[in-house]
């Protein structure tokens, strides 16, 4: 029987701090008047900053609670980017929430709980922790999507998300129970050893199929993507920007823990499944996005295609492939934050800038924001020398390296299809005339103006100097 000592808790300092801080914010917020909500806002951002500092503070790989919690470079990198993306989301969301009467403490508390779930998910060393971390993230997300109760679209999205999410959790649990049945352990390291040694892996593979389905559901990979467009469109944009960015990093962490740390021995089998999912996601995501007139919906389909690209890195099944996929997940999270942040920036009380039409002639009205938005669109499309291009380059290279040349060709073809709908947004902004040519009043939220500008320009800077970030990803996976 395992014994718990203080060193176990030492490994969990960032998570423990975040838990206590959430409880404090939850109680403290009750004593604030609605006019003082800014205190909660800044307190939440400070919490994220302190948690990030604590994550960087401790070095060295360690496990805690008998291997249930794993602390390594991969978990650290993912946690830092989850925290960074969430802080960006908080900055972007404030004025939108305030304009719509959604500026409540629960938004921050639920987002922070989701962050805590993601931190456990990427550090999981046992099937139980994977499942519980996932549920912590998912339950918070369902509630966030439904936060705007008076909107039927929101409620519909939340209902679909809840039902399909519960189904996906069920699939994952079923798969986990099969894997437990085949290996007799919940510990991912022991499962790895058992999956490598398995001579007759029928039951194990039966479990792998369901686990891959569960992962695909959570990522939103085709053909398990049905919930994604409705949820992205229905959720308040301030929530869409959250669920569209940070959880993708956590989903990558979950896929890595389950498939590589756990079921590495069954690699050749799940790589085939992921390759099929990647092709379906690339095709459905890119082709369906062309037909969308709603920007949030278009970005939802573009997410599906990006998940397809991310899977190209996972299909590689070697550390360099995982590093490429992680780089891709980080680049996507930062790009999604700006893209949805732009919708938040241009929305006002009683007006949602979520139709592509709403961006018509943006160049005449607000040239700087039109420039930032086009930078983001070019980056999402994968135009060099922007951040998104190098993500695509690395995952395509990973696919070629693992001998899946045909997969890389499919990826490249659909990347070109994808350029069409991203460029349509740019065309609408620069070449169409605005219905109302009056210059757009600068948003009153100064921190948001600055942060979104820095975030968008970072896509250019990180594109020009992508080396250090990739080196960090590679180092996490033990490639020097």
């Amino acid at each position: 029987m395992t014994t718990i000592s203080l060193t176990d808790l030492y490994t969990l300092i960032p998570e423990s701090f975040l838990t206590l801080a959430i409880c404090f914010i939850l109680l403290f917020d009750q004593f604030l008047k609605p006019a003082q909500r800014n205190v909660t806002h800044y307190l939440s951002i400070a919490t994220l900053a302190v948690t990030a500092w604590l994550v960087t503070r401790h070095y060295g790989d360690a496990t805690a609670f008998g291997g249930m919690f794993v602390h390594d470079g991969i978990a650290d990198a993912l946690k830092l980017f989850v925290l960074l993306t969430t802080a960006l989301v908080f900055v972007y969301a404030r004025s939108y929430l305030a304009d719509r009467g959604l500026y409540v403490g629960e938004y921050y508390v639920l987002c922070l709980f989701a962050v805590l779930g993601m931190m456990f998910l990427v550090s999981a060393g046992s099937l139980v922790i994977v499942y519980l971390g996932l549920e912590l993230l998912a339950l918070s997300s369902y509630a966030l999507v439904a936060l705007n109760r008076d909107s039927p679209l929101s409620s519909e999205g939340a209902m679909k998300y809840f039902v399909l999410g519960a189904l996906a959790s069920g699939m994952l649990l079923y798969g986990m129970s099969m894997v437990y049945g085949a290996t007799g352990t919940l510990d991912l390291n022991k499962i790895h050893a058992a999956s490598v040694a398995a001579t007759q892996p029928t039951l194990l593979l039966f479990g792998v199929v369901f686990i891959v389905v569960g992962i695909a559901f959570k990522f939103g990979a085709a053909p398990f993507h049905m919930w994604l467009p409705d949820v992205y469109q229905g959720a308040p944009t301030a929530v869409t920007v959250f669920i569209g960015s940070a959880p993708k990093l956590a989903a990558f962490g979950m896929a890595y823990r389950l498939l590589e740390s756990g079921l590495g021995g069954a690699g050749p089998h799940w790589q085939q499944m992921l390759a099929a999912l990647a092709v379906a996601s690339l095709a459905i995501g890119n082709i369906a996005a062309i037909m969308q007139s709603n920007l949030k919906r278009m970005l939802a389909y573009s997410t599906i295609s990006h998940v397809g690209f991310l899977f190209l890195g996972l299909v590689n099944g070697a550390p360099s492939g995982y590093a490429a996929a992680m780089f891709y997940a980080i680049s996507y999270a930062l790009m999604a934050a700006v893209a949805f942040g732009m919708i938040l920036l241009l929305s006002r009380a009683g007006f949602e800038a979520e139709e592509i039409e709403d961006f018509k002639g943006l160049n005449q009205r607000a040239p700087w924001y039109a420039f930032l938005m086009s930078l983001t669109m070019f980056s999402l499309a994968g135009v060099p020398p922007l951040f998104g291009f190098f993500g695509k380059l690395l995952v395509l290279k990973a696919a070629v390296d693992s001998g899946h040349v045909w997969l890389a060709i499919v990826g490249a073809v659909f990347a070109i299809v994808g350029i069409y709908y991203y460029l349509r947004v740019v065309k609408v902004m620069y070449f169409d005339d605005a219905d109302d040519a009056t210059p757009l009043a600068a948003p009153s939220d100064a921190p948001m103006r600055w942060v979104i500008s820095v975030n968008a320009l970072a896509l250019l800077v990180l594109g020009l100097t992508w080396g250090p970030l990739y080196a960090w990803c590679a180092r996490s996976f033990g490639i020097s």
């Binding site: 029987m1 629960e106 639920l110 912590l136 001579t199």
Partner: protein
């Protein structure tokens, strides 16, 4: 045949019979009560297999709480047994197909399980020298599974916060009593004394004032 085996067959027979009764009896209240019996005998077989905790949890959670709720719902609904029987013949082919598919799946699953070469690990309670299953579970929950246990607590907190965030709202235009204000009320708030000249009655027949 040991006593344990005899008990198992007895419980299993009652369980199968009551499970059949759940789907065949006409009265829905009786069906729910048979479901209670099914759960009860299932709990008994678990206790027989030395999984006392699961057995007790089944009785406390399902029989004690969930089924009572179920019974309330069934009693509230006005279900006519005749309407339940409608279309029995019409839907029979579909039902048979579904039942056959489920049977094949279950048999397949048992087949897959038989294929697995791995033996299930021995009962950890026995291995650790703790006689009782419940005691072992409690110990494992607070040592080996402490972290999952705490995360589960966080999930329940999220459920609580979400439920309040989604249902609690300030309602306007609701007439509720405010005892504080009622107690604090002064005579001046309710009664206004107006000074006015006394009216002189008029004669109804002549219209002249008296």
């Amino acid at each position: 045949m040991t006593l344990q085996l005899i008990c198992f067959y007895a419980f299993a027979a009652v369980m199968v019979a009551s499970a059949l009764a759940v789907v065949t009896v006409r009265n829905t209240v009786h069906a729910v009560l048979f479901l209670v019996l099914t759960f009860f005998t299932a709990a008994a077989t678990w206790i027989l297999a030395e999984a006392e905790f699961l057995g007790i949890a089944l009785i406390v959670v399902y029989v004690g709480a969930v089924m009572v709720l179920f019974l309330f719902v069934v009693m509230m609904l006005d279900i006519k047994p005749e309407s339940m029987r409608e279309g029995f013949i019409r839907f029979l082919p579909v039902g048979v197909v579904v039942a056959a598919v489920m049977l094949v799946e279950m048999l397949g699953l048992i087949g897959v399980k038989a294929m697995a070469a791995k033996q299930m690990p021995a009962d950890p309670a026995v291995a650790d020298g703790v006689a009782q299953n419940t005691a072992w579970l409690g110990k494992a929950l607070y040592t080996q599974f402490l972290l999952p246990f705490e995360i589960a607590a966080l999930i329940l907190t999220v459920a609580l916060v979400a439920a309040v965030a989604l249902t609690h709202r300030k309602r306007t235009g609701v007439k509720t009593q405010k005892p504080g204000e009622q107690v604090r009320v002064m005579r001046e708030d309710r009664i206004r004394i107006v000074k006015m000249a006394a009216e002189t009655p008029t004669n109804p027949t002549t219209g002249e004032s008296a």
